[in-house]
Symmetry: C2
Subunit: 443 residues, 2 copies
Amino acid sequence: MGNKARIPDSENPRVVIVGGGFAGIELAKSLNGVNVQVVLIDKTNHHTFQPLLYQVSTAGLEAESIVYPFRKIFDEQPNFFFRLAQVISVDTQTQVVETSIGFLRYDYLVIATGATTNFYGNKEIEKNSIPIKNIIDALSLRNTILSNFEKALQIEDDEQLNSLIDFVIVGGGPTGVELAGALSELRKHVFPNDYKELDFLKMDIHIIQSGPRILNGMSEEASLKALQFLENLNVKVWLNRRVESYDGYTVVLDSGEKLITRTLIWAAGVSGAPIEGLDKKCILKGSRIQVDEYSKVVGYTNIFAIGDIAAMVTPDNPQGHPMMAQPAIQQGRLLGENLTCILTGKPLKPFHYKDQGSMATIGRHRAVADLKINKKEYKMQGWFAWFIWMFVHLISIIGFRNRLFVFLNWIWSYISYDKGIRLIIGNPKSNKPVEEEVPKALN
Amino acid sequence: MGNKARIPDSENPRVVIVGGGFAGIELAKSLNGVNVQVVLIDKTNHHTFQPLLYQVSTAGLEAESIVYPFRKIFDEQPNFFFRLAQVISVDTQTQVVETSIGFLRYDYLVIATGATTNFYGNKEIEKNSIPIKNIIDALSLRNTILSNFEKALQIEDDEQLNSLIDFVIVGGGPTGVELAGALSELRKHVFPNDYKELDFLKMDIHIIQSGPRILNGMSEEASLKALQFLENLNVKVWLNRRVESYDGYTVVLDSGEKLITRTLIWAAGVSGAPIEGLDKKCILKGSRIQVDEYSKVVGYTNIFAIGDIAAMVTPDNPQGHPMMAQPAIQQGRLLGENLTCILTGKPLKPFHYKDQGSMATIGRHRAVADLKINKKEYKMQGWFAWFIWMFVHLISIIGFRNRLFVFLNWIWSYISYDKGIRLIIGNPKSNKPVEEEVPKALN
């Protein structure tokens, strides 16, 4: 056995939480004041507010407003320890996690590793498309979008030009829909001013959706209205289509149609990101970990899973809960209480998901929201839904400073019709000089 | 000859400006409304407010607040065109610039490429140290500083620990001094809260200065007071020392002393970044281009150089002007007027540098300022100088949005004693997991 990760000694049992997404931080918070040592492991040093990643990609928000350092969140929680590390595997016999900074003993292990982009095994698409799952993805996409327009100024050929200024989004869930809305705002209000030499009637935005409707986690009304909003914004929605192949230039759909773009944004699916060393039997379809109603991983007594990674399969809920922030937050909070019950010998409370509904925004003044308040459903679309969307997202952001900066950015964009952060910083997925990348035929 | 860069045809003479620093954008602005076609070429899509780079490195400001897209600055200037490209060389006979996006004809060429970090030919130092000249450097340094502390938590050996948490800054100019001040604030107010397991009495900050005093472009009083401020903040200033070698771990000074650090920040010198193809005769010491008092490059009639790259050597001024924002801005503005004079056949005005003084801040409430107002000199140190420093920097930042965000960040930091942007995003110069990087002896 190699070196040990250094964590201060403690008389209290150690809870190791792997992953600082919504579930992980909610659990860590709810263990404040409890007689345990909390060790949070993450491969970044910050929590990411994933619902707003698309606004970072489209120059509306700076990355720094939607990510927040873990150490700052838990500043005043004495039983909390953070380690920047990657988990390699777990040995459930000896109760040790192997990480990039050494071995770490646990009394209770909580897997909150979330989800990763699912390319359904298509390596070609994985190589050529851009996911939008973390902050680096989001910044890469921003760099790519902006670089495309800079390059487009040098192009004469119509097809080549369109390959740079057309965007294809795969996936008609909230991320795909919100991203399409934001891109169409850039097309309408921002880019024509920046790139006066280009004809923005030529810029196309496509959404490819495998099923018969977009936002299929929401009500029929919401789906239809969102589709109408997108069509009003001149976004082309392709329903009942799947991407067969993408070589970095031509998107081939299963219906035989072809689209030309250098920017395929993959917002189509996620799968769990489980840890090596767990019994294969507890890993379900989509790589999620099967847990019971106490978030306990099936077959173990001191290993738990919460958030996107956990599939809490019950007769009511054969697929587990939706892979979204709300179930993650609620599971994290309840597991905190249940761990306290375990330590004090009290009976555990089973998890009941309190669905508060969901929502998506599609550009300025337009959103759809299905809200559930006290078991009553409220469906709304348009202006008022848009206000609710903004309010709910603002209060969910961690930290007063970030909340203020997001709010100011929104006010600013609203008044000026502008997105100020049109910056190419660092290495986009394709920030090579034009001549290296544009096919030779062009020159 | 290869492909041509595509710029719309114009009847007016074309002014190609290479580089969008202070000099380049000031010139482009002053050509607004003049009958020329202005083409600005830069390898990034944004202007960088270099004086505040050190605050990005030390988690005080987000990158997005101090960089500003060129296209946004020149939004409403019809004769302005921007191209994201690198300049490869110039052919002064045919009046063509070769760039990464093709060849570009010019009538007037203005070289405003600024300065680059000068390692004085020491390849080992260049490889192992971190410069702080552009926004990528600044973000790399932020990532490195924060990663160091994360790694330090895993280290037992005292020397190894110090190699991670000690910082050596080479160069006692404004950048070095301001950076040391900001690091000492992090040490005092921020890091002890984040890394409660570390003993911050062990963290050392060093400045190495080759001459007998720091801030040697300023008055004796300012130098002495700045030294005193730094000593009060427990920054160790080594005067009359040069770095002989640095292997990434041990800094060897010419006096024989050794310092251990994994982070050597190189703020020691700059040299010009001239363009290939100019007559070697006009390139002076430090790779600056010799120009006359009209910013015309010696030996040419339609090539100019302004800002850091230009050495306007006169009997009064045998070294050229200081490589700072003020001369760059003033030269850019005057050249705009003089180009208009050339086009209309009016006599040109020679450049006279209006020195407004200089200043540097050293942490909270402390700054030194030598101001020149109407040829009178005002020297001040302390609180009032600190207010003036903030005021002058705030009004110099481009764009209301950036100014507001910098101001809010400063207010926030002032009230909370906090620096909120403690984020590791992307690839720092050394963001490898500890075990890959810490010498084997440790494990």
